[in-house]
Amino acid sequence: MKPRTWFLLPARTVMLLLFAVPMLIVAAYSLLTRGAYGGQGAPWTLANYARLLDPLYLEILLKSFWIAALATALCLLLGFPLALFIARARTRKTLWLALVTLPFWTSFLVRTYAWMFLLRDTGLINTILLGLGLISEPLPLLYNDAAVVLGLVYGYLPFTVLPIYAVLDRIGPELLEAAEDLGATPAQVVRRIVLPLARPGLLAGAVLVFVPCLGAYLTPDLMGGGKSILIGNVIQNQFTNARDWPFGAALSAVLMVIVMGLLLLVRRKTSEHGGLP
């Protein structure tokens, strides 16, 4: 074998064992029949996929897309200015970047509970507002779609800031000065120079947020209460309470195919322009 093949061997093995094999197992499970007391076995069937056509699941799938898209858009909207600020900061860049990644130092679960402590009816915010007499009833801050979006945006914001920062940091300051020199106001510089050059970072950030948001189950479970069920919760439920692994596997497989389709689309969009807009 050539040296190149040897060097790639570990990476290929890892990819095969950790990605390809599990995906094949999921695909296989999705074609099995659920047993009477959980478990699964013969015969092979497509019935699990047929169940997906139920409007109930389509609705949840659509809603999941909508929530993930909204969270992604908000992450980009918040992440871009933040990344721009850090990239343009003359000093303390490392400090700002450290602060962005600081939340990763504690568990996501703990941080989600902290948000719940802030938002629930007897939480900090409502208690203060009630105490000040600004409201007479607690505001419904938790257990709704808005709370889920908030939780997702909070959790995944760093994933947009970092890739956008990486591309912005490479834009030489003289490009921005040149644009201003040619008559562009600061807002026009952002629109005509910074945004187009940041596109690869924006796309990477969007993918890094959208994909996990689409499959999220912890945040909707905790912050959405029972009211905001997303596709991730349905899948989780099949593998736990419902004990219907084949159906859960079918849901996962469909989600996977959709995500891969989207990734391919994004990839074509970026390579079309040679990485540039």
């Binding site: 644009a179 106001t185 120079i193 050059l197 540039l276 807009p277």
Partner: protein, 323 residues
Amino acid sequence: MPLLEVDNVTRRYPGHLAVDQVSFSVEQGQLFALLGPSGCGKTTTLRLIAGFEQPDSGHIRLHGEAITHLPPYERRVNTVFQNYALFPHLTARANVEFGLRHERVRHVGNGPARDAAARVDAVLDLVQMTGKAASRPAQLSGGEKQRIALARSLVLEPDVLLLDEPLSALDPNLRKQVRGELKALQRRTGVTFLMVTHDQEEALSMADCIGVMNAGRLEQTGPPRGLYHRPRTRFVAGFLGAVNWIDGSGVRPEAVHVERDGTQGRDATILAVTFLGNCVHVEAELAGGARMVAEIQNPRSEFRPGDEVRLWWRGEDEMRPEA
């Protein structure tokens, strides 16, 4: 009234005076060169005029009106950056078009009357880049990038074009040629150029007027010949060319004559002779121990180390800087 006036401008960085009470003015149609060694504040001066930096004190006026605190996009000056700063995501042509879209903001009178596309065509033709209009900056050579950078600024017909070391990023072989092209371009367009350089030959050959900077201060301003022959400081004398310092006055090597059996001048012994193709450098030691270099274009006789000779120069070739 001068077109551009820099009036007693100072720019301080923490613990460092980058530009120290600099004053000079540039006339309409001139090519003005700011000349000085690395780190003397040339770029900072240019950036103050472009509006990327604000002076701590002093004023900058264009057509007599203060522009000291206007943002860059409201000044009728444009910059050609040292590394050209072309927008990588735009074609050469789109780079040139970039500023035209903002033009009306800058001056109302000259607005959209003339067709933007025709102006871009004309300026691309002027810099001979019509054939490469569709290329991206990454596909252009250094010289081509520079022409696009020039075109991008010239299309806006700036009152003053600021050029920061416009030739330094070019291949040394290309530099002399581009020097002439740049000067011709300036003549043809009639645009006032303010150019920064650390190369005295570049400044002397191209500029109508030179300002010599040293450690943040402007030491002297004047036409190339005046500066070369009548420098006001030792620094200016030395920066513009080689000087022999003798008894407090300076003599340029090319003004020193070497004779084997002359009656005038000072006795000297030749230490070294260097053949340079178009001339010969003769290094000699005077009777008192001082050393001088003479540059001789057409040596009549061949000098050798150890030869006893006489050195002389005209009184009017002696430079007496004040400082």
